[in-house]
């Protein structure tokens, strides 16, 4: 993990605020700063880097606001390190809402434990993963080693966004750390399993994309008719399971028939 402190961590080290484990409160105003985003939103920024503890504070704040939304709050968008708060300027003001949020007690627990660990079947390489061999060349690994590294890691659902149901999964093993493609593809097929920098993810819909494609999963991640519309929730764990073409096709047919339920196990008590 990149060793740059969260705003809250910096302040805690200064002895200004923070958790002490003795039941003292952790006010949001002491852990985050507010950034202006026009007159219908503002960002609550907990840090500048991707780290599970910062991300857990973001999701903790989102969950608390969902439980008891202040007047004028429309919705929040959790990201890696900040929470975008959308508000109605005809009902409240940034000043009033920020004062309410600053006083929010985030409590002792940084964030909810991951509820589920998902196992997703992936057909690696070939047409399903046209960049797999290039990834192996660029990283100096063999193709089986790339697959072993990618499928041998439990990822965290940090954020959903970019496309409906697209989940940013971290942290990708350092050995697979490559930049995005210099020229993004115009068309990335739905289900493509992709990597970029220290993240992996699956394209839920066909779209343009600049991540490197190493495989494909038939699992569906977004269904606008369901509540919630996405398979994952923030903090979930994800593991990719290599399968052969026959198994990939079997799952695809089951998904199309609406009878495939992705395998997952419940994770209990694990701290985020």
């Amino acid at each position: 993990m990149i060793a740059v402190a969260a705003w809250g961590q910096m302040q805690r080290e200064d002895g200004q605020a923070g958790t002490s484990g003795d039941g003292s409160t952790r006010r949001l105003g002491q852990l985050a700063r507010f950034l202006p985003v026009g007159d219908t939103a503002f960002a609550v920024e907990f840090g500048s880097v991707i780290a599970p503890d910062i991300n857990a504070l973001v999701h903790r704040t989102a969950a608390l606001l969902a439980l008891a939304p202040p007047a004028g709050l429309i919705e929040t968008v959790p990201t890696f390190r900040s929470l975008l708060v959308h508000y109605d300027p005809l009902v409240t003001s940034a000043e009033a809402l920020q004062a309410t949020l600053a006083a929010l007690d985030l409590g002792e627990t940084a964030g909810a434990a991951p509820a589920r660990l998902w196992h997703l079947p992936v057909l690696y390489g070939g047409e399903a993963g046209p960049d797999l061999e290039e990834v192996a060349r660029a990283t100096g690994l063999s193709v089986p080693e790339v697959i072993a590294q990618h499928s041998g890691t439990t990822y965290r659902v940090y954020v959903q966004g970019f496309l409906p149901g697209f989940a940013y999964l971290g942290d990708l093993p350092a050995a697979l750390d490559l930049p995005r493609l210099s020229v993004p593809r115009v068309r990335v097929p739905a289900g493509s399993v992709a990597i970029a920098q220290r993240m992996t993810g699956v394209y839920p819909l066909e779209s343009p994309g600049g991540w490197r494609l190493i495989g494909n999963t038939p699992v569906r991640f977004f269904d606008p008719t369901l509540t919630p519309p996405t398979l994952f929730a923030p903090g979930d764990g994800v593991r990719f399971v290599p399968v052969d073409a026959t198994e990939h096709e079997r799952v695809r047919v089951a998904v199309d028939a609406g009878v495939f339920i992705p395998h997952h196990e419940t994770l209990a008590g694990e701290s985020a």
């Binding site: 026009g38 007159d39 991707i50 429309i74 890696f80 003001s93 954020v159 959903q160 496309l163 977004f222």
Partner: protein, 345 residues
């Protein structure tokens, strides 16, 4: 219940409402009308609720037949010639008024002037299924509206039950649509990622809307903006109106269909009161940015709401003579009104 049978769809006609709220955390964009003030005025003209779904037209309107009943329609947000062809007779109407269209009549809406987008409301609203609480079309996600796409020839669009009683309403003093040339912005959230010279350039230089402009955003041509380090940030949330700047240094003004999060630094956000004007801009339009505070932006929005409420309160029955002398009404519509929903100062 009546139905619109689409003969010609227009360049990009889609079902839109005030947008899809509450699902951005799942990566689902808000979407909704580029000019939400036009949507509200069009809906008010036909007696709809502000939240009802209507058709958003880009550049030019559709041609359609009203079937299975009559329809009351109104166009707002741009000037356009609206022809209603019934029993072999063609009558022309302007925008900013309700028009009763008999069953079986053909409606032809021509090129939009003064704006790149307009709203056509039908009494009762477009009866397409709500997806995640909204009927807005998400063109990229391919859901909402009619099959998640812009209209095509042959589409049959149901209209909800409505029995518009009373006379057709007219907006006596439509808002002026002429672009004043400046969009007001709140600087941030990553203004400090740009050099001091870049921030000064952003607030003084003229930019031009490029050809790469759609419902998601518009790329602007002009002097490139420099970064202290780079354009890349750890992705954070995006609001409608945010101006992100990729490595090229050229700003992109993000509109209704913008992605929920993004990894480019954002120098500023266009204030909500100026978003309808931004949504109406056409490629080639020249614009400048002026910085205001958050409190000033909130006050501008409140003033705009009051202006919209005054416009809605000013709706009055179309004078009987006006329907006969449509040419006079057409000319009158080209003259800017004295009350503006779009200018608040």
């Amino acid at each position: 219940m009546s139905t619109l049978r689409i003969l010609q769809p227009g360049p990009q006609t889609s079902v839109q409402d005030l947008g899809r709220r509450g699902f951005q955390a799942f990566g689902v964009p808000v979407c909704g009308a580029l000019d939400p003030v036009a949507l509200r005025l069009a809906n008010a003209l036909v007696g709809n609720a502000a939240t009802d779904a209507a058709l958003e037209l880009r550049l030019a309107g559709p041609h359609f037949v009203v079937e299975d009943g009559s329809a009351r329609i109104a166009l707002a947000g741009a000037s356009a010639r609206i022809e209603v062809i019934a029993d072999g007779e063609t009558r022309a109407y302007p925008s900013w008024r309700a028009i009763d269209v008999p069953e079986g009549a053909t409606v032809r809406i021509g090129a939009l002037t003064q704006s790149g987008c307009a709203i056509l409301a039908v009494a009762g609203g477009m009866d397409v299924p709500a997806v995640m609480g909204s009927r807005a079309t998400d063109l990229k996600g391919r859901f909402g509206g009619v099959a998640g796409r812009a209209l095509i020839s042959g589409d049959m669009i149901p209209v909800s039950n409505a029995d518009p009683s009373g006379p057709c309403l007219d907006l006596p003093h439509p808002p002026t649509l002429a672009f004043a040339g400046t969009l007001r912005v709140v600087l941030g959230p990553q203004a400090e990622a740009f050099t001091e010279a870049a921030r000064a350039t952003f607030l003084t230089a003229a930019y031009r809307v490029s050809r790469e402009a759609d419902r998601m955003g518009m790329r602007l041509d002009g002097p490139p903006l420099g970064f202290v380090t780079s354009a890349d940030i750890v992705s954070d949330g995006i609001a409608t109106g945010s101006i992100q700047v990729p490595g090229s240094g050229l700003p992109i003004l993000l509109l209704a269909d913008h992605q929920t999060i993004g990894g480019y630094a954002k120098i500023a956000t266009v204030i909500s009161a100026d978003l309808p004007a931004a949504g109406r801009l056409l490629p080639g339009a020249e614009l400048r940015f002026a910085a205001v505070s958050v409190a000033e932006a909130e006050a501008a929005r409140r003033a705009q709401e009051q202006a919209v409420a005054r416009l809605v309160a000013s709706l009055a029955p179309v004078r009987e003579g006006a329907r006969i002398d449509t040419d006079a009404l057409w000319r009158a519509n080209l003259i800017s009104g004295v009350v503006s929903a779009y200018e608040t100062e």
